[in-house]
Amino acid sequence: MRSPILASLPIARASTRFVAEADFVPSLIGTSGETLREAFGKALTAVAHRYPSLVVLDADVAGGTGTHHFRRAHPDRFVQFGIAEQNMVGAAAGLALAGCLPVASTFAVFALRTIEQVRQSIAYPRLNVKLAASHPGLDAGPDGASAQALEDLAAFRAIPGMTVVSPADPVEMAKAVPAILDFNGPVYLRTGRSAAARVLDDSYVFELGRGRVIRDGLDVTIVACGVEVARALEAAALLARDGISARVVNMSTIKPIDRDLLAACARETGAFVTAEDHNIVGGLGGAVAESLATTNPSPIEFVGVRDVFGESGEPDELADKYGLTGRSIADAARRAIARKEAR
């Protein structure tokens, strides 16, 4: 098993420096300085030469999704659809039928309006189309609830044959992009708006459909995706101060979920917290619960937005108000452990 990849992070230094301060909560947010969307656009551009049939589709948000990097490098392989996401996604199906490898990109909330096109035109015929959505979750921040997609993981996960991926940091994004392009089938890739924490080192191996233990522990398993992975590590550090050993799993593929890893974690830790910047209904938490219910029923606590809409604010403020912080995850872990011990 890989050792936790925390060495280069402020958390390690901070927790030794401030260990006496009871109120101190180490923060990983913002430490990489790079956003998942920029990492996505750069990764796509970096590997473009290996995929001659790759075309990138945009609906007037290339500057926001990161695909502006690709447009600059390969203007002849970039197709503009204007502010018309449903048509873009349907045309992506046609481009795939013509032998192209289309990557359509927009904001996650607009991807939601293409759900039926993805279902009908792409997933039903199992076409090799990738949909990359930026600005998901409360991480979308100040634009407010109308821009904060809290339902995308649930919605796209419910479509037969869809693969759903939400990488944790720019390092993983760079590795996930070529893996997704190599995979033959429809994929929903969730990126992110805000500067992302760096939680993984360059030796990290991304495998589609596999979660990875990035910090080991025995009392509880925290299963997280996207920006919540950094907060899960923060939670594990908080719990460690109380002598609680928390395992952290980066579950970047939400569908198909890594059932074997979850079963192993159930046997070895017996309690779970799921953490996602998404509604607690139907996303990562739902996927984990569905899997464990049929293999290893275990106490699970769900950290996410509790079936409400968000509001304007900075991502950290929103995470605090809506209970997505490391502290919230740590509290949930204590509840899960208490339920395990009460059994």
Partner: protein, 272 residues
């Protein structure tokens, strides 16, 4: 009778019979489109090069008939229409030989056709893409997203055909949601607009030739048609759009109108 007339009649016979076999389906929409499909499949489409997308997917019995007549599958396959485990699904799917796009949710096939045309241009393939839309389908917003994009990208390899039978599921377009002025709408989206009589084979062929001659502009053929064309009691009656179950006397009258002798109607019972 010209060969096109014969093919169109056979498409109509098979389409209504498929619907009769299955106990459900949309006869009116198949009958209005049959002449257009006959010219497409027996004159215009070049095998292996061109593509056709039936965006008004509910008319798939007519498409299946045309594909059968072009040898895409055998007669026994016709018995599988709308049947559990059957090849011929209630809406077009890519699992059927000769069909590239899943259709049935209106508006979507048009975007797929647009993507095919863009893809052909991207890959420097000289194929042409044809897509048939219903008139009621034009009420879908996605249609106009795709129309705007095709005009913007000057897709001369894309030809849309509107089966303009003036009726939709519940009623006349005019009473449900007016789609006129159609010619002006498409023109405003930078398409070459060619209104024709959609039951005149020469006019249909000439419109396709016209479309072919315009490499830098998409063409829309506004094909004025009659819903239910060829079956007198269905002609111009909106209720035959529907998913309907035909009564025994209704299929008998339909096949009689389509020139099938009473002692030969068994040949059109595909479920055996």
């Amino acid at each position: 009778m010209s060969d096109l007339d014969a093919y169109a009649t056979e498409i109509r016979r098979i389409a209504v019979s498929l619907i009769n076999d299955a106990g459900s389906g949309h006869p009116g929409s198949c009958l209005s489109a049959a002449d257009l499909l006959a010219v497409l499949y027996f004159r215009e489409l070049r095998d292996g090069r061109d593509r056709f997308v039936l965006s008004k997917g509910h008319a798939c019995p007519a498409l299946y008939a045309a594909l059968y007549l072009r040898g895409c599958f055998d007669r026994a396959t016709l018995g599988s229409f709308r049947r559990l485990g059957g090849t011929l699904q209630g809406s077009p799917t890519t699992t059927i030989h000769g069909i590239d796009a899943t259709c049935g949710s209106l508006g979507q096939g048009f975007s797929i056709a647009l993507g095919l045309a863009l893809g052909f241009r991207q890959r420097k393939h000289d194929g042409r893409v044809f897509v048939m839309l219903g008139d009621g389908e034009l009420q879908e917003g996605q249609v106009w997203e795709a129309a705007m994009a095709a005009g913007h990208h000057r897709l001369g390899n894309l030809c849309a055909i509107v089966d303009y039978n003036k009726m939709q599921s519940d009623d006349l377009n005019e009473r449900t949601m007016r789609v006129e002025p159609l010619d002006a709408k498409w023109g405003a989206f930078n398409w070459h607009v060619r209104p024709i009589d959609g039951h005149d084979f020469d006019a249909i062929a000439a419109a396709f030739a016209d479309a072919r001659s315009r490499p830098n502009q998409p063409t829309v053929i506004i094909a004025h048609t009659i819903k239910g064309k060829g079956v007198r009691y269905m002609e111009g009656v909106p209720s035959w759009h529907g998913s309907v179950k035909l009564k025994p006397e209704e299929i008998a009258r339909a096949l009689a109108d389509l020139g099938v002798a009473a002692d030969r109607t068994r040949e059109y019972a595909f479920r055996g």
